[in-house]
Symmetry: C2
DNA sequence: GATAAAAATGATACCGATACCGTTTTTTTT
DNA sequence: AAAAAAAACGGTATCGGTATCATTTTTATC
């Protein structure tokens, strides 16, 4: 494409009348260089429009200053918020984020991890704890620091930042029970390889058990993280002869789909059926009725993960493995 | 960090009993190599867990297979959707996306562009047409192909993919006029360095003019792209003695803020005041009342931009500069 | 079966920065 | 002012691939 010769640090050095290595130091490690030469080199760099070739630096320094992050999707704003915050945390330190979306597919995740390793990312940020054996082997082989976000697990090698999806689902379920709902249905996000979904379902079940409410498989549904899928699940629940008086959806997106379905069917929330969600999407405060849901520190997760990554890159070994950022219930009108 | 010696293509070559360059070809350009050696090299690569060092390849090939994209923010799902689609378009071709968010700041944009150039991104995707002179000079100097998204301009050097924000605002305004609203207020997104906002405001003004409606500066407000800011603008409009009977917000986020404000103040939409937005955020179909807005082909913008970028990377010169993907009005209950 | 053409492989140099170690210059010490 | 220490600078090698051109091997042609 570009035929014009690119300016290298050699040219800058020549222009400033110093050796390339001195120019390199002047630009990257000014303390090692006399003030006056630093100025000359910087002037030369500016004059010649020099921007260092990242690949070259990476090759010789053997570090990339890049961090790879994988989330299921950017279309769900909860992950977009986390990534936005992660970017804000690390970009000022000159660290570039590589972003991959796996669409809840383990295969895609493996693919992306390979790409990130090829790019020699200095660290990885992964969503959840569930990865293929192959992925974990790669990570071990290449000795890449990893931070897992959006869920917590004790006893793993990797640091994690998030909140207990189990506890959150447990508390919400208990809240619904205490509110007096007798028959609480559940619409869960896809469970396959998704520890957040699994933990939420477990929390729901355990809360029922601890409060002597029978678990009824017939009012459990599984849904994709899309409005129509949530709507469909709710439709199915509404047709039951002994329909639930309350539905707990394990994601706001699913809850919104369910909410739309109820409105379309003329089913009143919360009078005919109560509804609770999970995630606290911005929308939840704006629907009629407002959606009762679990508020998650999305941005804090990104910021904290970013800070941990930065510590890792500096070789700091003093990193707490489990970083619980908590959650709380956002009680509104829907349940 | 990692002390273990990384596997290089040299090792792979030795293991397979060929020269490094042959191994390189076997992996990257199999047609140049005998089938049997290709298999041996691939087996060796797999056996040794070889993943090529991207920086090295980049340095010698003088291309990065990376594309940089800059959007204002990821927290607004409209941009997240576009980026998601862009990723889907280029990732299968082995192109990695570098994502930068400038938070509507030109300075940040310059910074990010410099970073991307240092990374030797093969192409850039920028939001809108407004950049600093410095940025444009950099782009010219380094001869980087650029695609601009989310707005259209004739006569620029860069290809653009999007829709006419001017036309869209014009049509929406005309629709509101035809609907019978007499006094149509306007809450615009921040105008500074934002051609989308500017064009929308221009479209609104021109539609008024063409329909002999007087432009009244006193019912124009400017707002940030945040709910509270939209709410505040609406609050200000509501206090007017001759308040508008309709408000056109140049972004759904702002419109939602305005909607919340009206609900809190007991102002009925559309009876007391009508409301229209712009962007067609997913939420708009779920609020009560549903939000009348402009539907934008967010995902198509990402896909098309991705395809154009891929063509550019292949050196294809046959690229149409202005790619109008259109829009339409989503008429719901709010206006 | 000799010759030309095509396919497969290899040797060497190079991409652009910095690490490493050595040399020169300046400053400090006594 | 001589010796020692510190600061500044530079030569060379190197990171890990691939481009380029040369060479060898295989296949095709008549």
């Amino acid at each position: 494409m570009s035929k014009r010769k690119r300016i290298t640090i050699q040219e800058v050095a020549k222009f400033a009348g110093v050796s390339p290595i001195t120019a390199s130091r002047a630009l990257g490690n000014p303390k090692l260089v006399k003030e006056s030469t630093r100025e000359r080199v910087e002037a030369a760099a500016k004059e010649l429009n020099f921007l260092p070739n990242f690949a070259a630096g990476m090759l010789s320094k053997n570090k990339s200053n890049m961090v790879g992050v994988i989330v299921p999707t950017l279309s769900n704003s909860i992950f977009a918020d986390t990534i936005q915050a992660l970017t804000e945390a690390i970009a000022p330190q000159g660290v570039q984020l590589l972003i991959g979306t796996n669409n809840y597919s383990m295969e895609r995740e493996d693919q992306i991890i390979k790409t990130f390793i090829s790019h020699r990312a200095d660290a990885l940020v992964l969503t959840g704890h569930t990865h293929t054996d192959y992925a974990e082997e790669l990570i071990r082989n290449f000795e890449i620091p990893v931070v897992e976000i959006w869920n917590l697990r004790q006893g793993r090698d990797f640091a994690c930042v998030g909140m207990s999806n189990y506890n959150a689902a447990y508390e919400m379920t208990e809240y619904l029970i205490n509110k007096g709902y007798k028959r609480i249905g559940y619409i869960g996000g896809l469970l396959a390889n998704n520890d957040r979904s699994e933990d939420r379902l477990r929390g729901y079940k355990q809360a029922l058990r601890d409060n002597d409410v029978e678990f009824d498989f017939s009012i459990i549904r599984e849904a994709e993280f899309e409005l129509p899928s949530g709507a469909e699940a709710m439709r199915s629940l509404l047709t039951l002869s002994d329909r639930p008086d309350c539905v707990f959806a394990s994601s706001d997106i699913i809850a919104f789909g369910a909410l739309i379905e109820c409105q379309n069917k003329g089913v009143s929330i919360p009078d005919d059926i109560a509804l609770a969600g999970f995630d606290d999407a911005v929308i939840g405060s704006m629907t009629k009725p407002g959606l009762t849901t679990v508020r998650i520190p999305r941005r804090q997760i990104g910021l904290k993960a970013g800070n941990i990554v930065l510590k890792m890159l500096q070789g700091d070994k003093d990193i707490s493995l489990v970083n619980d950022l908590g959650f709380d219930l956002a009680i509104r009108d829907s349940a």
